[in-house]
């Protein structure tokens, strides 16, 4: 409801918040497991260090324990895969009503953003970053390709990237939220596979 109030279309991926919910599950589960194993190994190192007059146990198997741990692992895997698939289905869906279309072409070493039907396009490179605008609260439908080698378009603040592959167009839809703290400027970077920092920005939004 809150999301609707702020202008989200609930079926469109807000990649940043989708990322955050999955991330926090993985992060805290991972931290929990790491802390447990570090603590347990630490305990074992103290408890079972060699001391005179004590001989080591001769136990070399514990099938109930092995099976129990295996079942626990399967349960954790099932939870992770469930949460991942649910979010993935949303993020991979390239359909959205009322979306603003932007065509993006990557090349060595720059980007061209064009707005079909509006006669507008923005070109830039590392030295002259392209300023391109996205609307807030309205889905943006990106069509991404490349004219030479494989690049990747990464918007760190949106927690999202996609490959720009020559001869292939990758489509994805995302929504930019106003968020409050940022006044409409963000940096768009590309993780180009080969070479050099390709800084693109600032990314303007129409507030």
């Amino acid at each position: 409801m809150l999301a609707a109030f702020r202008g989200y279309s609930p079926d469109v991926a807000s990649t940043r918040s989708d990322f955050s919910s999955v991330w926090s599950l993985y992060l805290w589960l991972g931290v929990g497991i790491a802390v447990f194993i570090f603590a347990f190994v630490g305990f074992a190192l103290v408890r079972y260090r060699a001391r005179p007059g004590r001989s080591p146990s001769q136990r070399d198997e514990h099938n109930t324990l092995e099976i129990g741990v295996a079942l626990l692992l399967v349960a954790i895997i099932a939870l992770l895969v469930f949460v991942t698939f649910r979010t993935e289905a949303k993020e991979d869906d390239p359909t959205a009503a009322d979306a603003v279309k932007i065509h993006v072409v990557a090349f060595q070493w720059g980007w061209r953003f064009s707005y079909p039907g509006q006669g507008v396009s923005v070109v830039g490179n590392s030295n002259h970053p392209p300023n391109f605008a996205v609307p807030v609260g309205r889905p943006v439908d990106f069509s991404l390709t490349s004219s030479d080698v494989i690049h990747a378009m990464w918007i760190p603040e949106q927690r999202f990237k996609k490959d720009a592959i020559p001869g292939k167009t990758n489509r994805f839809v995302m929504e930019f939220d106003a968020g409050g703290h940022e006044a409409g400027q963000r940096i768009l970077r590309t993780a180009a596979h080969p070479d050099g920092l390709r800084r693109l920005g600032p990314l303007r939004r129409e507030l």
Partner: protein, 540 residues
């Protein structure tokens, strides 16, 4: 050890070890140069083109020329000894494999001597960047040829190890009596035999593409190349991991004075790992939009199952043991705890919505250096310190070894932990420059790289000092060896063994000690009982 033409598997393994060490130091120098460049924002030391060569050759050198051959070389040395064989199957093939690998490595590095420099299309050689218009020049051709030859050499060595395991086990050495390390080598060589030919073919096709064209064309061609590459590229990660799990397992069991815990579960988990290893490659392609992400996400997350069982077994081996903290044990513990961070972050990147952010960033660089450096290299160090006395007949200096362990722990974590934050905050990998706000963490990481270099020098000094002023190691320098290599002399004779004990389990020497202890205990109790009864008789 004698002679370049010696067919002894130990001599061939020594050659592999020397060559792998050479390429490790060379590729490590490239890493130091990169970290020096990255210590401050801006370009100070190298051009972006040179930087491309640096990260390409660092990654290629470490994977194709160091960790993979080192893992197989360790197996080439130890597997015959562990399973009671007097030689490797196909000693000529193994020696030939070494020379092919060495030629590949030299070809790859000789690219630096050409006009356009060495290969600079990353260790993956992704199409179309690696084709003749993306990366022209002989250096890139030499890279392609080098990768193909080094991989062929590794494949040949792996075949000899696999055949040795299948054909040359000593009488009584059944499959389920093979030591843990030999089991990890069996799983490793399975993966090598199934996946390395695919890379060799891919490199042949890439060379054809570069000179004739028309092989990997359009989007289909570039995606096809990635499929071929990663079908090799994921199993190879476990080729660089399993043997060191084995080395760590043997070290932990020996210095816990206990039999390896959960042996049969470990064997099952290795086999599950091996089969999954060839079903997960698409997770390197989540952001291409060209694979079914859910399938690869499912298989990749499933890896947590065999990995979790291996952790249970490694830690379970310590529980109830009588732990002695010699240098190999410290490195083994370093492996267990540090690899954990690499493994857990591996589960993170098996989730596409998370990978969409961290793919191609320093988060990935941190992740795989925790698996390959903080993990595999520490496992290799555990194996080195554990088996060095067996291989050379000389003990390593214990205090220096322990000091180098702590320096390497500090260096590894200082170098690679900040990279998780750098990647999350938006620093792409394979860049020579970055935003000024990321300067502090990069500086920390660069300092860490220097600390690693000190640790590596300490290990090398230890090896040189220990070989020059030898402290002789007996057959079983740890006094608690469990497997057959500790039965024979250090270093072993040309035929490995002059006699073999009865092989009763995967820890035959431990069986012997326990039987002797039980016998002397029963002798002792019989003796006490007799004395007591005699004493009672006197009283009566």
């Amino acid at each position: 050890m004698a002679g370049l033409a010696s067919l002894d598997h130990k001599a061939t393994a020594a050659k592999v070890a020397i060559a792998a060490t050479f390429f490790f130091l060379l590729s490590g120098l490239l890493a130091l140069t990169m970290r020096a460049e990255l210590a401050q924002p801006g370009l100070q030391l190298v051009s972006t083109h040179t930087y491309d060569e640096l990260f390409t050759m660092h990654g290629s050198g470490m994977i194709y020329l160091f960790l993979t051959p080192a893992a197989l070389g360790l197996g080439l040395y130890l597997v015959p000894l562990q399973i009671g064989a007097s030689q490797i199957a196909g000693p000529r093939l193994a020696l030939y494999g070494f020379w092919v690998y060495l030629c590949g490595g030299l070809a790859m590095y000789s690219g630096f001597l050409t006009n356009n420099g060495a290969g600079d299309a990353a260790w993956t050689g992704t199409i179309p960047l690696s084709n003749s218009s993306g990366t022209p020049g002989v250096g890139m051709d030499l890279w392609v040829i080098g990768v193909a030859l080094a991989t062929l050499g590794s494949l040949l060595i792996a075949i000899t190890i696999l055949l040795t395991i299948l054909r040359l086990r000593a009488p009584g050495m059944t499959m389920l009596r093979m030591p843990v390390f030999s089991w990890t080598m069996l799983a490793t060589t399975f993966m090598v035999v199934a996946s390395f030919p695919v890379l060799i073919v891919a490199m042949g096709l890439l060379l054809a593409e570069r000179h004739l064209g028309g092989v990997f064309t359009g989007a289909t061609g570039s995606i096809a190349y990635q499929h071929l590459f990663w079908f090799y590229g994921h199993p190879v990660v476990y080729v660089m991991f399993f043997p060191f799990v084995g080395a760590v397992g043997e070290s932990i069991a020996t210095f816990s004075r206990k039999r390896f815990f959960g042996y049969r579960a470990l064997v099952l988990s290795l086999l599950l790992f091996t089969s999954l290893s060839m079903a997960v490659w698409g997770h390197h392609m989540f952001i291409t939009g060209a694979v079914k992400n859910q399938y690869y996400s499912l298989t990749s997350t499933l890896l947590a199952l065999p990995a979790g069982i291996e952790y249970l077994d490694l830690i379970g081996t310590m529980v109830g043991g009588s732990l002695v903290f010699r240098a190999p044990m410290l490195f083994a513990l370093g492996f267990v705890l540090q690899f954990l961070i690499g493994g857990l972050t591996g589960i993170v990147v098996a989730s596409p919505p998370l990978d969409y952010h961290v793919n191609g960033s320093y988060f990935i660089v941190a992740h795989f250096h925790y698996t390959l450096f903080a993990g595999s290299l520490f496992g290799l160090m555990a194996g080195l310190h554990f088996w060095f006395p067996k291989m050379t007949g000389a003990m390593l200096r214990e205090r220096l070894a322990k000091a180098s362990f702590w320096v390497l722990v500090a260096g590894a974590n200082l170098t690679f932990f900040p990279m998780f934050f750098l990647g999350y905050d938006g620093m792409p990998r394979r860049v020579a420059d970055y935003e000024p706000r990321l300067g502090d963490l990069n500086l920390l990481s660069s300092i860490g790289a220097g600390v690693i270099a000190i640790g590596v020098v300490m290990v090398l000094v230890n090896i040189v000092v220990s070989l020059r002023r030898r402290e002789p190691a007996g057959n079983d320098p740890w006094g608690e060896g469990q497997t057959l290599e500790w039965w024979t002399t250090s270093p072993p004779p040309a035929t490995n063994f002059t006699s073999l004990p009865e092989i009763t389990s995967y820890a035959p020497l431990l069986d012997l000690r326990q039987a002797a202890a039980a016998e002397s205990a029963s002798d002792l109790s019989r003796h006490i009982w007799r004395q007591r009864s005699e004493a009672r008789g006197v009283e009566r």
